[in-house]
Amino acid sequence: MKQNSTQQLLTCYHCGENCKSHKLDINDKSFCCNGCRSVYLLLHEHELENYYCLNEQPGTTMKALQPEKFRFLDEDAIAARLLEFSNGRKANVTFYLPQIHCSSCLWLLEHLDQVHPGIITSRVQFAAKELSLSFDLTQITLRQLAELLTRIGYEPHISLQDTDDTPKLATYSKKETAYKLGITGFCFANIMLISFPEYLGLKPADSSGLTAFFRWVNLSLSLPVVFYGAREFFKNALYSFRQGYINIDAPIALAITITFLRSIYEITRGTGAGYLDSMSGIVFFMLLGRTLQNRTYSTLSFNRDYKSYFPIAVTVLKEGKKQTVKIQDVREQDILLLHHQEILPVDGILSKGKAAIDYSFITGESLPECPAIGDLVYAGGKIAGSAVEIIVVKDFKQNSFTRLWNNKAFKEQHTDKATMTTTISKYFSLMVLLIAFSAFLYWQLTAPQHAWNALTAVLIVACPCALLLTTTFTNGYLVEYFAAHGFFLRDAQVIEQLAYADHIAFDKTGTITEAQDSSIIATKMILTLTEKENVLSVLSQSIHPLAKAITAYYHYTGTITTNNIKELPGKGMEAWIEDRHYKIGSAAFTGWHNHGATDRTEVYVTIDGVTKAHFLFRQQLREGVPALLRQLSGYTLSMVSGDNDSSKNQMRRLFPADAQFSFAQSPQQKLEHIQALQQQGKKVIMVGDGLNDAGALQQSDAGIAVVQHSFSFSPACEAILEAEKLQYLPAYLRMAKASQKLILYGFSYSILFNIVGIGFAVSAHLSPLVAAVLMPSSSLGIMLIAFAGIKAVTHLKDQEQAPPS
């Protein structure tokens, strides 16, 4: 008895998943599947077991190998695009391997030369998850290289967008930021150092030479700060002026300009030291905040369109010979040869072969279709089964899918949405200008020599920099926290969209329910042992996912014992074993008439006309979904699904009473659903996973794509959420709301400082020392508030079902 329980808890030595078969295979190590086992054997053969010493269970679960997947790399034209260098003998290539995640991956990939002699060197760029290889073309081809990497669990991800001719958009440059911060920080620190003598009592009258020297050095050090470090503030301010509104960079640009000009004036006239110290400090802190906020995760892409989902090339049969053709060059009437797990690139007609086609990612239908010869099949479906031949009906550009992308929602540019920060900064700037001018007028009337002094001092000290710092640091810390917990935001503005939403729309297949497994319930099982063996052996011959699910449920790994089997696509299987007629399949096929129950996913088994077994498939909910939906009581909810309504009752029980449900929705209809909600004045969050949600995700105020792993494909969205973290969504939303409140606290703190500073400035008593003390202390104070605040916000929620840190 004890042995049984320990056996069930075995996890795969390679990837850590639970082992259902293949237990205790080699050297007392168990594996969950043949894939993991093969990787272990390969590494063992080449004495690379160190892979397992560096980390526990470092591998990723192996998918079934598709032998033809990298066939297109044999084509010179395509290979030439990917190779960085080639001289006929040696070649260099860089692959993107999204599975890289730990030091074991690093170790293994840099020891590839031990696996194959054709590999000369290999180097990993961990942050970008890239592997750069130098290999000998005479010993290994590019295709074999890709296949080798796949065999050890690191399948290269090559998408259409990589080999496209269109230039890549300018991405966030880490180097540029490093330069800016380095130079600005250098200048700031030195200016501060050189300003100290005057703060500490150096009298200009006594040592004019020295004072002048210090001031001029400061001035020259401030030049890089103003013209290089602060460049982006000026650029953004000008941009907003041209668009006709004021964003937060405008008052900052103004403050920097005034400070700089006044300092130049004072230094050239010899009347003072200027305020270069505070100015460079502010620029440095703001750049720091911006960097923290804008850190992007270069391995994630929030702008994927349908092109990255499709393969690059496909096998075309021309006069019986196989040819690899780029997907854009596929024409009508071509005959395509597609294998297991391949994706249909175009709409076509099935002409040969037997396969189930999984459309769940495209339309949301959870049950695969089994087309017969002559049926239409659509682009985007995944083939499950043996190889099939398709006659192309429409070109790639005209398939039923690209139409969705022509919708207006995709054309809208990402503009500076009116955020809380921009409105507050607008009012702040107006206030400051008002105060400055009134101070100017006052002094002009009473003691004119102080007028300009007061005006410029107010503009210097009342810096909205503190406002900017509050938002950038608070957002930056929160974005970082989310990213560490599987929730990746495209940029910091998304936080505000999340905080002010009041309606959440969910997709069903793949989001609320698991995309792959359904749970099986055997409601009737009166088979004898031999009958059960026979049924399972018949089912093991089928490629239908339901058949596979049943055989997996009973851990059946036996062999075929009979060949009198007939499979009818869409209906079921029938077989004659030992003179008995077995029929396994749908209700209609097996002759069972259901009593008014709607489309349920079920399989009946009849032997000689008598029903002996019945299996009911219920879609497995993702972990934590019922709790998730309960916690979202502050929002109105709805569910839009592309699937049929067979699970309507199950869903009704999960959602609150006032939730809306829509089934069998096309991608276009999902988009319209969101539009309708927005017209009612609601701010909508859409949670979806597939290409069929792409339109809705774009249209919503904040679109969250749920993915299995952070490297899986996700349609264009504002945030990517790892599937196992979906249950923490209410906690994340609460944190986003709390962070907005935190920003308001930071604002009040900085307003306080501003009042004090303006007090000094208006009375024309603002000395550089006072400014130098006020500015950094307010900045540092804000950074501290942001940091401590976010820590508090994310920890308080930890007590109530937040992700373990």
Binding site: N50, L54, S103, L106, W107, E110, H111, V124, Q125, F126, A127, A128, K174, K175, A178, Y179, G182, I183, F186, N190, I194, S207, G209, L210, F213, F214, V217
Partner: protein
């Protein structure tokens, strides 16, 4: 007084040299990958491999 000016200038020049070194290291890509170099030093098979190569 001259001494102070001289000292300050020299220290600024030295500091500029270090800034230059920093900019050079960023340009050459040293900071692009902050994960791998830290872990690479723990791989102790460099010794094993050179041993193997000698015995081969």
């Amino acid at each position: 007084m001259i001494v102070t000016i001289f000292l300050l200038s020299v220290s600024l020049i030295v500091a500029l040299i270090f800034l230059g070194a920093y900019l050079w290291s960023v340009k050459s890509g040293q900071f692009d990958d902050d994960y791998s170099p830290a872990h690479r030093i723990f791989f102790d098979d460099n010794l094993e491999r050179s041993k193997n190569q000698k015995t081969r």
